[in-house]
């Protein structure tokens, strides 16, 4: 057991966990933040994507110990306050970008990361670019049509915000 400390959604978290604990287990089992999901064993579905030090990463493919001292944001911490929604969350709702909701947290975390990167680089986030950027996120319900639309809309909402 090792004490692993990090900042999760703006709050200090510290838990004694075994060295083989995955970041997703730390988040789900130890912090009980269950919005981050596990949908595969091979790092492909993206249901577990969180932001570590501001970058999207697959929390199922990372040890909690490797995130010692890191700043982690999960879907629960994306909005600035409890009563608020992040513009990307609003966009997913308004564009029917989710059905069963299981892949949604990972999709939203991937989407906010991608928009941030493109906006910082001054690159245009085209439909093709969004589809390419979603390579690591699998959805079985929506056929991606409305996820792509949500991200297009979320990107403009994030620019406006």
């Amino acid at each position: 057991m090792t004490k692993i400390t990090m900042t999760v959604n703006g709050k200090a978290a510290s838990k004694d966990v075994s060295d083989n604990t995955l970041l997703v287990e730390y988040i789900r089992e130890h912090l009980r933040l269950t919005g981050t999901h596990v949908g595969c064993d091979t790092s492909q579905c993206g249901a577990c994507v969180v932001h570590v030090n501001g970058q999207a990463m697959k929390s199922c493919t990372m040890l909690a110990a490797a995130a010692e001292g890191a700043t982690v944001t999960t879907v629960e911490g994306l909005a600035t306050s409890k009563d608020d929604l992040h513009p990307m969350q609003v966009a997913f709702k308004e564009n029917h970008g989710l059905q069963c909701g299981f892949c949604t947290p990972g999709m939203i975390m991937t989407a906010t990361d991608m928009v941030k990167r493109y906006q910082e680089a001054g690159k245009e986030l085209t439909e093709d670019a969004i589809r390419h950027e979603l390579e690591g996120n699998i959805c079985r319900c929506t056929g991606y049509h409305n996820i792509v639309k949500s991200i297009q809309d979320g990107a403009s909402k994030m620019t406006a915000a």
Partner: protein
């Protein structure tokens, strides 16, 4: 009415999902929870000679290791198929025994022989690896054709030659006669590839036995918690029905795979009783590939005859359906009554005959997966029609148009009586939207860029809302297929709808609220939908087969009829008017032609205070209904797919996919379009990407996302989705159902388009780049010869 029928109301359920507050089974932790890990067979076919769990039992943190002999010793019953199919010769189907934990023999890779219960999931998994099972391996067979061959390994003693049933439908002699005298014959071998359903949420269960109350609670990923409770109690003897609560909380997709009651749920409940701990099991993805019921897997030979005017005179179909190692809950119905009954397609065919052999193999059990039998039927019909058009040298749209059923009701030779539709209207809408006329120009332009462009049609019809209980009962169903609803108007006027349908992505919390809003003129925020908990909701049949609209909502309408009748009585009494003059609109009960009214909440209060209600009336305002449909519903449509193939690599890109559907009345177009999008991606997935592959030893070579290709965002296009509807006469809202159409209609459109592009009709699904490239090589070789 901005929130009523036809309105694009945003989903009420979304907030919890977009903020990470959804509550799925694996999110739940019970106090005193232990974890189950299954010891699974690495062999596809073997005798179990012994199980040595001593090393596991010695590990710290291991609570117990339980096996199949203990399970059957405790009276836990075998898993059953709930639909009996009778063979041609009148004999019942040959169902082999399926124990939740195998005792004497394992029959597929993944068959569980024991379960470890431990303090953590990791300990359970490690301990399961340490259980030593003595297997005596047996010869293996994985394909249905091979399993029926002489000398094939025998999988179940009571299914000689691995034949479960040899079933038939239609008019055999007239069909053969019609084919014998036909002007043109089209004949094809058609394979429908085996798929893994892959809802993104893996299956999970938490079972808790409360010894002091002698009561069980099961949280599970189910599309139909009441059916789960019924079979768990009535057939598997896990617990009596009134001592078992089944809760299906948020469920992350199902697509059929979460209809069935699997060995894991049964075992967790039983193990909870044995160990006096809550027992949790969550599948990982590879375990899902090894245990979730697969879909499709048909091998078909079909022969269609045309007269000199290109009218279809007959169709004869033989299908060998691979049902895997055991018969899953609806496995017998899927390749029979849900498949061959649609082999008339959208066409007026006097003579149709089909026979289907259900076959045991050493593979994962096969059952209904999104579409269930109907995608297989539409694939046969629409591949045949496109091929016929090519062989006859006529336009595929015109050949179909010539043969459409044009008058309704229409009785087919294969049971179904189509009630409504306008197939030509859907076809025209799709052709206009897809600019079919401009295709040849686009093909020429693509050729200049070195690309092969192709176009393909699929005019599908399916049967939903399955269907009058007495009718399905006569066909072998072990259950009735009605639905229930309860409408509870609270004293403050808010409404709870308790439904036997179950939402696992379909948006019932929104759509169901919309029909209440429409009926009583209330905002949808005043309506709550309660589902998924057998302690809260009356018995219901659950969600599959696109039935929640046509059957589930019809039950709600029926209950609302009763509420409305009582409200009118109360209104007439309080407002001192005749019941005939009472109208309900804009959230008020009004007397026609006057300004007298009671607000909706005042009616609720009146009903519950009972200070001033008609004499003899019971207080309260709560009504329930059970709705049994009078017929199937028949969604239909026309799909057109346009592709470009890169001849160097065989890569196919879908340039445009156009879908014109007839779903009858649409409550929420936004949600319906979303259902079509998802269905199309699954159908395109079947056509181009997905396929479960076994090696000859029965090992799955595609048991993770490294090898099973799930469609990704860059694999699919933006879809053109549109509607051209005729109202369904069979239910009060005129609905037909939309959940499966996309998956049913799209595979033939895709394959017809690719084969058109490459000039070789010999192409199986999935049409991967390597398969398309090989077909291109074959075509150029043939051209050279």
């Amino acid at each position: 009415m901005t929130e009523g029928i036809g309105a694009r109301v945003l989903r009420k359920e979304d907030k919890r999902f977009i903020t990470g507050k959804g509550r799925y089974t694996d999110d739940i932790i019970e106090p005193n929870q232990a974890y189950a890990a299954f010891v699974r067979s690495p062999h596809a076919h073997a005798n179990v000679k012994g199980i040595d769990a001593s090393a596991a039992l010695a590990m710290e943190g291991v609570v117990d290791v339980l096996n199949g002999h203990q399970l059957t010793g405790d009276g836990i019953g075998n898993i059953i198929c709930g639909w009996g199919v009778t063979s041609k010769d009148g004999t019942p189907m040959n169902m082999g025994a399926w124990s939740a934990l195998a005792t004497e023999k394992v029959r597929y890779v993944g068959d569980a022989v024991a379960v470890v219960i431990a303090d953590s999931a990791e300990i359970a998994k490690l301990a399961a690896e340490s259980v030593v099972v003595d297997y005596e391996t047996l010869p293996v067979v994985v394909g249905s054709v091979e399993a029926l061959a002489d000398g094939a390994p025998q999988i179940h003693e009571n299914a000689p030659g691995n034949l479960i049933f040899d079933w038939e439908i239609g008019n055999k002699e007239p069909t053969d006669a019609a084919l014998a005298s036909a002007e043109h014959i089209v004949e094809m071998d058609i394979v429908n590839n085996r798929l893994a359903p892959n809802p993104m949420e893996p299956r999970s269960a938490i079972a808790t036995f409360n010894e002091s109350e002698d009561h069980y609670t099961l949280y599970t990923t189910s599309q139909n918690p009441h059916v789960a409770r019924l079979v768990l109690s009535a057939f598997y003897n896990v617990a009596p029905e009134h001592k078992l609560r089944v809760i299906a909380p948020d469920v992350g997709g199902g697509f059929g795979s979460k209809i069935y009651i699997y060995p894991e749920e049964i075992t967790c409940l039983w193990a909870s009783m044995k160990t006096n701990r809550s027992v949790k099991w969550t599948s990982d993805r590879t375990e899902a590939f090894l245990t979730d019921a697969h879909g499709r897997d048909h091998v078909t030979h079909a022969k269609m005859g045309f007269d000199k005017n290109h009218k279809i005179v007959g169709l004869r179909v033989n299908t060998k359906a691979n049902l895997g190692a055991y018969m899953s809950l609806f496995s017998s119905a899927t390749p029979t009554y849900l498949y061959a009954t649609l082999l008339s397609g959208q066409y007026n065919i006097e003579n149709v005959y089909a026979d289907v052999q259900g076959v045991y193999t050493n593979t994962v059990p096969v059952d209904a997966y999104r579409g269930a039998g109907r995608p297989e039927a539409s694939f046969v019909m629409e591949r045949m029609m496109e091929t016929a058009a090519r062989q006859l040298g006529v336009d595929p749209a015109e050949l179909r148009l010539k043969n459409f059923v044009k008058e309704f009701p229409h009785q087919t030779p294969v049971i179904m009586a189509y009630d409504s539709g306008d197939f030509a209207a859907n076809q025209k809408q799709a052709m206009d939207a897809a600019d079919y006329k401009g295709f040849e120009k686009r093909r020429t332009e693509a050729a200049k860029r070195g690309k092969l462009r192709g176009i393909g049609f699929s005019n599908y019809i399916e049967a939903c809302g399955i269907a009058p209980s007495a009718a399905v009962g006569s066909l072998g169903a072990g259950v009735g297929l009605w639905e229930s609803a309860e409408v509870r108007v609270n004293p403050v006027g808010t409404i709870e709808i308790l439904t036997g349908s179950h939402s696992h992505g379909q948006g019932h919390e929104t759509t169901f609220a919309q029909i209440v809003a429409e009926r009583f003129g209330l905002p949808t925020e005043n309506v709550a939908i309660v589902h998924g908990d057998t302690d809260k909701v009356q018995f219901g049949m659950g969600t599959y087969g696109s039935r929640s609209g046509a059957v589930g909502m019809s039950a709600i309408v029926k209950a609302m009829d009763k509420v409305e009748a009582k409200v009118k009585k109360i209104g007439a009494h309080v407002l001192e008017a005749s019941e005939d003059d009472i109208i309900i609109e804009d959230g008020a009960v009004k007397v026609k032609g006057t300004d007298k009214q009671m607000l909706w909440h005042e009616v609720g209060l009146a009903a519950y205070t009972a200070h001033n209600i008609p004499e003899g009336m019971e207080p309260g305002l709560k009504e329930s209904a059970f709705y049994d449909p009078s017929n199937f519903t028949f969604p239909a449509g026309c799909y057109i797919c346009e592709v470009e193939v890169d001849p160097e690599t065989g890569v196919t890109k879908i340039i445009q996919f156009t879908a014109s559907d007839d779903f009858g009345t649409i409550i929420n177009p936004m949600i319906v379009e979303g259902q079509v999008h998802g269905g199309l991606a699954q159908g395109i997935g079947q056509a181009m990407f997905e396929g479960v592959v076994y090696d000859p030893d029965g090992q799955q070579l595609s048991a993770s996302y490294m090898d099973y290709c799930m469609p990704r965002a860059d694999d699919v296009p933006m879809y053109q989705v549109m509607h051209q509807s005729t109202e369904c006469p069979g239910n009060p809202l005129g609905m037909k159902g939309c959940g499966e159409a996309g998956a049913i209609g799209s595979p033939p459109a895709v394959i017809n388009a690719i084969t058109d592009a490459i000039g070789n009709n010999n192409l199986n699904m999935p049409a991967t780049p390597s398969a398309v490239w090989a077909a291109l090589q074959e075509a150029s070789k043939q051209a050279a010869e």
